[in-house]
């Protein structure tokens, strides 16, 4: 999505109309991003609100050599991570190294059929916080485990373990859904 330069300039000047136009253009997509990182819609809206305040506050720092949508998206993801860290600052989770799965969850003979997006979103939101964060950063943002360990303050092995468990969980849930679907037909 491209955005009119005038709107950005208006936002830099602090004009409310321009800010509203920018918000209307990007808010639905960014709420979709936030919802993947949060446990429910209300929390995602809190993150979205906080994220857009940062966008408007720091919009003059945006360098036009990159994608504006990507810049906003990074702010939203960072805000979601900050929110996660704040909310779970006493959430210590020690992963038993023995539970690390050596199998590669991303490969195999299994073919996954498309699933309703709302259901898939719901499944992601049901994941434990840590699993959800790692899954999002790895799958959607393209970070490596080493980077994720630095972002979330966990070990690389924990990152791998949580990604593995998240995939396993989603896989199981989708299989259950498939069974139900087959029963219906």
């Amino acid at each position: 999505m491209t955005v009119d330069e005038k709107i950005i300039q208006g936002c830099i000047a602090g004009k409310r109309r321009a800010q509203n136009q920018l918000y209307k253009a990007f808010a639905p997509g960014m709420l979709g991003v936030c919802m993947r990182y949060c446990m429910n819609r209300a929390e995602a809206e809190d993150v979205l609100q906080e994220g857009f305040v940062k966008v408007f506050r720091y919009i003059e720092n945006f360098r036009s050599d990159g994608s504006f949508e990507g810049w906003i998206r990074r702010i939203m993801v960072n805000t979601a991570i900050t929110n996660y860290n704040k909310r779970s600052k006493v959430h210590h989770e020690e992963i038993n190294e023995n539970t690390l799965s050596s199998e590669d969850e991303t490969s195999g003979d299994k073919v996954y059929l498309p699933v309703d997006r709302e259901i898939l979103m719901r499944l992601i939101q049901q994941l434990p916080d840590g699993y959800r964060m790692v899954l999002n950063l790895y799958v959607f943002e393209g970070y490596k485990h080493r980077e994720i360990s630095g972002i979330l303050g966990i070990s690389e092995n924990t990152s791998k373990s949580q990604l593995s468990k998240a995939r396993k969980y989603l896989k199981n849930e989708m299989e259950k859904l498939e069974k139900v679907k087959n029963l219906q037909y």
Partner: protein, 467 residues
């Protein structure tokens, strides 16, 4: 046929990468509000604050100086001049005497002891008061005498008679320029006691001192502070503004399913503006400290005994019965056992409170008055104290602590109504007690916890001071 995906990552990316949901209207409102308070709004609020303070200061000082500085320096100069010129002529002129007598008659109603035969003379024999110089003015004034019996009286008596209506002291040529409200409290000074006579003398001196020196601002209240038996001098401005401090314990009903109640203690400093007897406005700034529970769900595993069994060490055959006799020992069985416990901590949240109230007096009897009041309070969370749960179990494995405490929001509004009971201890100190009902216009917890708007009952106890 539906296209499939070889791995789950592709499925997720394909399905959710461009996922869009329209946010609720609350989000944009929240963004707008945050931007307002962080951008131009801050400047606007700062300017508004400065304007309000300036207006308040103007009202305060402007009003309080009406009686004190209304005599200009030009008039003051005239006073000095008349001491040498006009006053002399007034002493000898019959018309002048009549004027003075007429004025003093008015005084007599307030200060018994003066008759229609009173006249004014000027005592040229008092020491240290050359007539041809302006200062020290206080001494010049105190040298003016009134003879109540046709002969020169004592200095104290004279001072009493002239001082009571201060304009009359400045008298003869300038009295028309001096507002009648210079010492509205003076009628209460009967002059019966030496203390009051001394007070009146100093009042006069101070008054004229300021006539000559408009920038000088000597407060009579300060002058007489600590003198017992000296009656209150009421300049009127004390009725316009008063200041107070409140402490108000508050019970907050969280309005949730568990009917949770929380305690909060508020400390507020307020300023009251009372333009008339019945109505007043109140602005305040304070700190509120609220208590809350920190709930943590602790899951952990521990290597623990789960039972026992009998280990057969050996056996023998009983020759009598032919049956085996086992020799056993008890062996404990250990395994990793999952435990869960709830850990509670005491959280504390500190809010900065800004309040605006208006009130109306509905009952008044002697020192007791009853008000109804209502207003808004805006609270900003400025500090959160959330201690971590204490875990003393060193054998715990795979520890997982989940915070279950709802997250507090950063700011909230309260609408309050209440009744105020004031008891006036003195002209300057009023004791006040105000049972209040407060309704939170926003939940104190974040929306994701489905929090409802709480309400609270509080009792504001405080002292109102008039300076």
């Amino acid at each position: 046929m539906e296209q499939g995906f070889n791995n789950i990552d592709d499925l997720l990316r394909n399905s959710l990468d461009d996922y869009q949901v329209r946010p609720s209207a609350k989000v944009w409102k929240g963004v707008s509000r945050s931007l307002f308070f962080s951008g131009m709004g801050k400047i606007i609020m700062l300017i508004s604050g400065v304007v309000v303070l300036s207006v308040a200061a103007y009202l305060y000082w402007g009003y309080s100086n009406v009686g004190e500085t209304s005599g200009s320096s030009v008039e003051a100069t005239e006073i000095g001049r008349t001491q040498n010129e006009d006053m002399v002529s007034s002493e000898t002129g019959i018309e002048g005497q009549k004027q003075i007598v007429g004025k003093e008659k008015g005084v007599n109603h307030e200060n018994a002891g003066l008759s229609e035969n009173d006249n004014i003379t000027k005592d040229k024999n008092l020491p240290g008061k050359p007539n041809n110089e302006l200062g020290p003015r206080t001494e010049d004034v105190s040298s003016v005498e009134i003879s109540t019996t046709g002969k020169t009286g004592e200095v104290n008596d004279v001072i009493l008679a002239t001082a009571a209506p201060a304009p009359a002291i400045a008298n003869v040529t300038v009295q028309k320029n001096i507002p009648q409200k210079v010492y509205p409290g003076l009628p209460r000074l009967s002059g019966e006691s030496p203390m009051e006579r001394m007070a009146i003398k100093t009042l006069d001196a101070n008054y004229l001192f300021r006539q000559y020196n408009p920038i000088a601002n000597i407060n009579e209240r300060t002058l007489f502070n600590g003198l017992q038996g000296f009656p209150e001098i009421d300049y009127g401005r004390a009725k316009l503004f008063s200041y107070g401090v409140y402490v108000s314990p508050e019970v907050i009903f969280m309005n949730d399913e568990a009917k949770t109640r929380k305690l909060q203690l508020n400390f507020d400093a307020v300023m009251n503006y009372k333009p008339n007897e019945g109505f007043y406005l109140q602005g305040g700034l304070g700190i509120g400290v609220s208590q809350d529970d920190g709930r943590y769900n602790v899951d952990y595993e521990q290597y623990d005994s789960v039972g026992y069994y009998y280990e057969v060490n050996s056996y023998t055959i009983d020759p009598a019965t032919g049956k085996p006799v086992f020799k056993t020992s008890i062996e404990n069985v250990y395994d990793t056992v999952a435990y869960n416990k709830l850990s509670l901590t005491g959280n504390r949240y500190t809010y900065l409170r800004m309040s605006g109230f208006m009130g109306y007096r509905v009952h008044y009897a002697k020192s007791f008055s009853v008000f109804v009041k209502g207003g808004l309070t805006y609270s900003i969370l400025i500090n959160s104290y959330e201690p971590n749960p204490e875990l003393t179990n060193g054998d715990a494995l795979n520890l997982k602590i989940t915070k279950e405490t709802a997250q507090r929001i950063n700011d909230t509004w309260q609408a309050s109504v209440g009744v105020g009971f004031n008891y006036r201890l003195s002209n300057s100190i009023t004791l006040t007690g105000e049972p209040m009902f407060n309704y939170y216009l926003r939940p104190v917890y974040e929306r994701r916890y489905n929090a409802k708007n709480p309400y609270s009952l509080g009792l504001k106890l405080g002292l109102l001071l008039k300076f």
